[in-house]
């Protein structure tokens, strides 16, 4: 595996887009991106060119929060509570499923490409057979109401690299670890530092678990979001990650970026060289953390609040989507 070096990180392209891009998937071995947008659609965009015309692929009729690829199959989910399967090869819809009773927040595809996990604000994680769209099982472990009796939200999910475990994270900082094979809840990790309930000044909350990544050996889970916020009107808290040994329910380490905002995406390098953390507040930021010695390797600003990112196969190119932009970065010398 090539040794992409975060210290070489640099912007190589910015592509302006109207609206907000919440999620991205990449067609293997290409710079072709599928981006989920707040104009209710999923677009195909060639990020290898600065001015390529995007092609509309899917229309949900509502904000699209999540898009993932399994082979030639595109699956997207959004505020319409539905999952849409789309065959990219012949450009046709495969199926549409009323998957949840509230908006779908995020999707994850198992490493073998056979299973899809969807999380939604009905506080249920559902596992699906990607090939036929059949439900496999429901995973219920997140409370529908917050401790102060408001509706909660289930933001994110991630498979372990071997595909045997799945993590889900909610608004109040709860992370559940599931056995994918039988649906058993293996552990519950509480990360309250990522949830701010302001019961004095503003009587509302902000934050939540916004990103998850297993360590390569699957024993640890990195949990990202924003730390405690004094003024919940904005994202004026430190971007924050906690790493937990989920089996022992122990926090192994934690760190905060020097920027205020959310870590919306975590990617743990398969050789355990670093953890890449991407997100944003008023602007965007990216941080590489050495997971061996708990030091920051490199961090830099991004030109927009970034909602999602995806690496190329050789880890040398990184694609970000967010507020009105797609940004391409490279890590090669």
């Amino acid at each position: 595996m090539p040794d992409a070096n975060p210290r070489n990180l640099r912007n190589v392209r910015e592509i302006n887009r109207p609206g907000i891009l919440f999620s991205v998937a990449r067609v293997p071995n290409t710079a072709c991106l599928l981006v989920a947008s707040n104009d209710n659609k999923v677009y195909e965009v060639d990020a290898g060119q600065a001015n390529a015309a995007p092609r509309q692929v899917v229309d949900h009729g509502r904000y699209v929060n999540a898009v993932r690829l399994a082979g030639n199959t595109l699956i997207s989910g959004g505020y319409d509570n539905r999952l849409i399967w789309w065959n990219l090869q012949d450009n046709r819809e495969i199926r549409t499923i009323d998957a949840h009773t509230r908006q779908v927040r995020q999707l994850a595809v198992s490493p073998d490409g056979t299973k899809l996990a969807s999380v939604a604000d009905d506080m249920v994680c559902r596992l699906w057979n990607i090939a036929n769209g059949e439900p496999i099982r429901e995973l219920r472990g997140h409370e529908e109401r917050t401790p102060t009796n408001f509706g909660s939200m289930l933001y994110c999910c991630a498979f372990s690299n071997d595909g045997t475990k799945l993590a889900t994270g909610d608004r109040v900082g709860r992370v559940c670890i599931w056995n994918v094979a039988n649906g058993e809840r293996l552990s519950t990790v509480e990360v309250p530092s990522l949830y701010t309930w302001d019961g004095t000044q503003r009587i509302r909350s902000i934050g939540g678990v916004r990103s998850l990544a297993f360590s390569p050996d699957g024993t640890q889970i990195a949990v990202g979001g924003v730390g405690q916020i004094g003024n919940v009107d904005g994202l004026s808290g430190p971007s924050r990650v906690e790493i937990h040994n989920w089996a022992r329910r122990e926090r192994v380490s934690d760190f905060q970026g020097n920027q205020q905002g959310l870590f919306n995406k975590l990617v743990w390098h398969p050789n355990n060289q670093w953890l890449c953390c991407v997100g944003g507040g008023n602007n965007g930021f990216i941080l590489f953390r050495n997971t061996q010695n708990n030091t920051t390797i490199h961090q830099m600003n991004l030109p927009m609040h970034t909602h999602d990112s995806v690496f190329s196969e050789n880890w040398e190119t990184l694609y970000h989507v967010g507020h009105q932009k797609i940004v391409v970065q490279e890590l090669r010398p």
Binding site: N38, F150, T200, I203, I206, G234, G281, H305, H323
Partner: protein
């Protein structure tokens, strides 16, 4: 200022004013301030008639600025519309945010006004405008709506306060305090900030008998003091004392634990719900104006998640309050207002927030004097401007006054200067009125 002694003896060297002021402080109210020197013109018959109708207002003050697009003026499908859909309401053709399904089912008593352009997007000054219905001016300290209601609808000899304001969150509280302005502190608000019950309304260990005996002692001492004296100031103090005494005797009004569990459950286990229930109790007891401040809606970031959190609570509390008032026969004489200092921008910023916006936003009037199940005014497709029926704070307040049967052209007098309730030339919105 040299204070007159109460009885002349050195050991009782306390003024009557000081004595009463101490009592007032103990009761946690500001009701002992001087009566206004303002002369109030207008026919006593008209005033008495108005009072006989006992019109009341419950204002749900959405402090910080709730988003009109996530509540009463949704714009699904446009770039600024946000992620939420609109849903049909009980009135054909009127749609509101999907976050408000309960209000959608009971829009029959509510008029939505979607065309406010109040031209001020600063929290503090905008809150002052929207509490008073007008811009301030250096030489006149205008009263807010609560104080006007206290003045116009407070009942002679009432033993309940005339203006109660719940505002528990600390953010924004100082930006929109209740203010009697030139009407004087007699019409000021009883502010409940840290507790649902006026603090120190009755000190621990003071039982009913103690309370009664203290009142008798006060009457005796007061009688001694008044002997041979007559003044409006003395009358004012006596009125104020009777009011505080009445409030102390009616402390259970604030205690929602006296409501059946099913009623408390109905309002929900949130602070806003509990305070709305307390507001209903006060309304039922004859308090003319109650404000329930629900802060803080200033969602510069994560607007949609915050509204997803807060709007269902507003929907639940508002619809429950309207149902409850209706079932008790109170809604026809009670105007329920949702108002804020402004709304929120159609544009969505980089932190998925909406910012301050006063150019095209919404308010609602429900119940007393209002044509329910209607919409007045229209914002344009993107929500950036008023397309039809633009109004400012003055017309809104003229409409509120008319809905309550208060002539909006009525003058107060500050010395010889007439001060109309609303700016001259302001007309209420006839289409909104029943």
């Amino acid at each position: 200022m040299k204070l007159k002694n109460f009885c002349g003896s050195p050991e009782h060297a306390v003024s009557r004013r000081g004595f009463l002021t101490s009592l007032a402080a103990a009761a946690g109210t500001a009701a002992f301030a001087d009566m206004s020197a303002i002369q109030v013109l207008g026919s006593p018959e008209v005033a008495n008639d108005l009072r006989a109708n006992q019109k009341r207002v419950i204002m749900l003050w959405l402090a910080g600025g709730a988003s009109q697009m996530e509540t009463f003026d949704p714009k699904p499908g446009v770039p600024t519309g946000g992620p939420f859909q609109s849903i049909a309401t009980s009135t054909p053709g009127i749609r509101i945010s999907e976050l408000m399904p309960r209000m959608a089912r009971r829009l029959k008593d509510t008029c939505i006004i979607r065309s406010l352009n109040t031209r001020n997007a600063d929290h503090g000054s905008a809150a002052r405008i929207m509490m008073r219905g007008r811009m301030g001016e250096p030489s006149v300290d205008y009263p807010d709506l609560g104080a006007v209601m206290a003045r116009e609808m407070g009942l002679e000899g009432s033993q309940v306060p005339d203006y109660v304001s719940f505002y528990t969150a600390t953010e924004g509280r100082s930006m929109s305090p209740g203010s009697a302005g030139f009407l004087g502190a007699r019409y000021g608000s009883m502010d409940l900030t840290t507790s649902m019950v006026p603090e120190n309304i009755r000190r621990a260990g003071v039982n009913e008998q103690d309370h009664s005996e203290r009142a008798e002692l006060r009457d005796q001492l007061s009688g001694m003091f008044e002997r041979g004296r007559t003044s409006s100031s003395l009358d004012s103090h006596n009125q104020a004392y009777r009011r505080v005494s009445g409030i102390m005797a009616n402390e259970q009004l604030f205690d929602i634990e006296r409501e059946p569990q099913r009623i408390r459950d109905r309002y929900g286990n949130t602070l806003f719900g509990r305070q709305a229930l307390a507001a209903r109790r006060l309304c039922e007891a004859g308090v003319p104006f109650i404000r329930v401040g629900r802060a803080w809606w200033d969602t510069h970031a994560q607007n949609f998640e915050s509204h997803q959190e807060m709007v269902p609570e507003l929907d639940h509390v508002m619809s429950t309050l309207l149902d409850d008032l209706e079932e008790r026969g109170l809604l026809r004489n009670t105007l329920v207002i949702t108002l804020a200092e402004f709304g929120r921008t159609p544009s969505i910023n980089s932190t998925v927030g909406r910012d301050h916006f006063a150019s095209a936003w919404s308010t609602t009037l429900s119940g007393c004097g209002v044509r329910g199940g209607t919409v007045y005014g229209r914002s344009d497709e993107s929500g950036n401007r008023v397309a039809e029926g633009e109004i400012g704070a003055a017309r809104l307040f003229a409409t509120i006054y008319r809905a309550l049967g208060i002539p909006h052209t009525k003058n107060y007098y500050l010395g010889a200067r007439p001060i109309p309730l609303t700016d001259p030339g302001t007309e209420p919105i006839r289409e909104v009125l029943a």
